[in-house]
Subunit: 141 residues, 2 copies
DNA sequence: TCTAAACTTGACCAATTTAGTCAGGTATGT
DNA sequence: ACATACCTGACTAAATTGGTCAAGTTTAGA
């Protein structure tokens, strides 16, 4: 059960970006330097964030990225969904009536994993970028 | 963020076992057949469960495995720990003062991931095998 | 108008992890 | 003795991860 670097980077980058994007667009190069994330990798990540309308891009010199929504409306769920991070605790297809090992009914632990999945997703749904910025501003001098 | 099959199987097998182990030892072969899990794989898993004193083994004909503790004292945490499933949301070494990308301080999202880890682990600590058996008995006719 | 900064896209890859299989054992109730 | 069932370690194919690399396109500013 671990979180991928891609997701961790996505959130890191967005928190970094959110601190300045109201002043000027933030370039990936800056984020890369400040957060120590590979520029090429960031580009992959932001391409997805853009497709999911979490950020907007501004091309050309002095360009960069800007948030496309209010930080309060960007939940962890949205970010994770954008970069294809998914919480997968069950093995079976959720929609199907069939169980994991090809059985006709759900297995004896199915409900447990389902509960777990909901437990985790709840955390993601309740946490917004706004929360993270606030938290981070507090720790800055 | 996904749960490994090994962990899922471990819990499945223990729930299966717990339903009969007060009557007679349960062989892995039976569990394998009932739950559709590879016997060889189960053996790996039970070797670890035994090392962690979650089950006891009884060798020879009519042998099998039996729980080594009260189902109420076997938490998901214990099972996961036994099969080396670990929740890992931060990238850095927890004990160290250093951050992930080799920086001298913790990164801007460190606290968030730490919170997430606690959130998930809490679920594991509160859920016992007893809970699962009870739940499963209800769904049996 | 030229140029450099910055976004855009897609291919490629090494290392690790996962989810097992396989091939041998050893212990013991009947 | 022998079948049953535990025990152990080596091995591996496939998927995933965490990137790199190369070759663009767009646009602000000199
Ligand atoms: S996990 Fe859904 S049926 Fe087993
Ligand atoms: S995750 Fe701990 S410092 Fe970045």
């Amino acid at each position: 059960m671990k979180l991928s670097s891609k997701s961790r980077y996505a959130v890191m980058a967005l928190v970094d970006l959110a601190r300045f994007d109201d002043i000027y667009p933030v370039s990936l190069r800056d984020i890369s330097l400040r957060q120590g994330i590979s520029l090429d990798y960031l580009e992959q990540i932001f391409s997805k964030l853009k497709k999911n309308e979490i950020v907007k891009s501004i091309r050309g010199t002095q360009g960069g990225y800007v948030l496309n929504k209010n930080p309060n409306d960007i939940k962890l769920t949205n970010i994770f969904h954008a970069v294809d991070e998914k919480v997968k605790t069950v093995q079976c297809k959720k929609e199907s009536k069939r169980g994991c090992n090809g059985k006709a009914t759900k297995c004896i632990t199915h409900n447990l994993w389902d509960e777990l999945e909901i437990h985790i997703n709840t955390f993601f749904e309740n946490k917004s970028l706004e929360d993270l910025i606030r938290n981070n501003k507090q720790t800055r001098v």
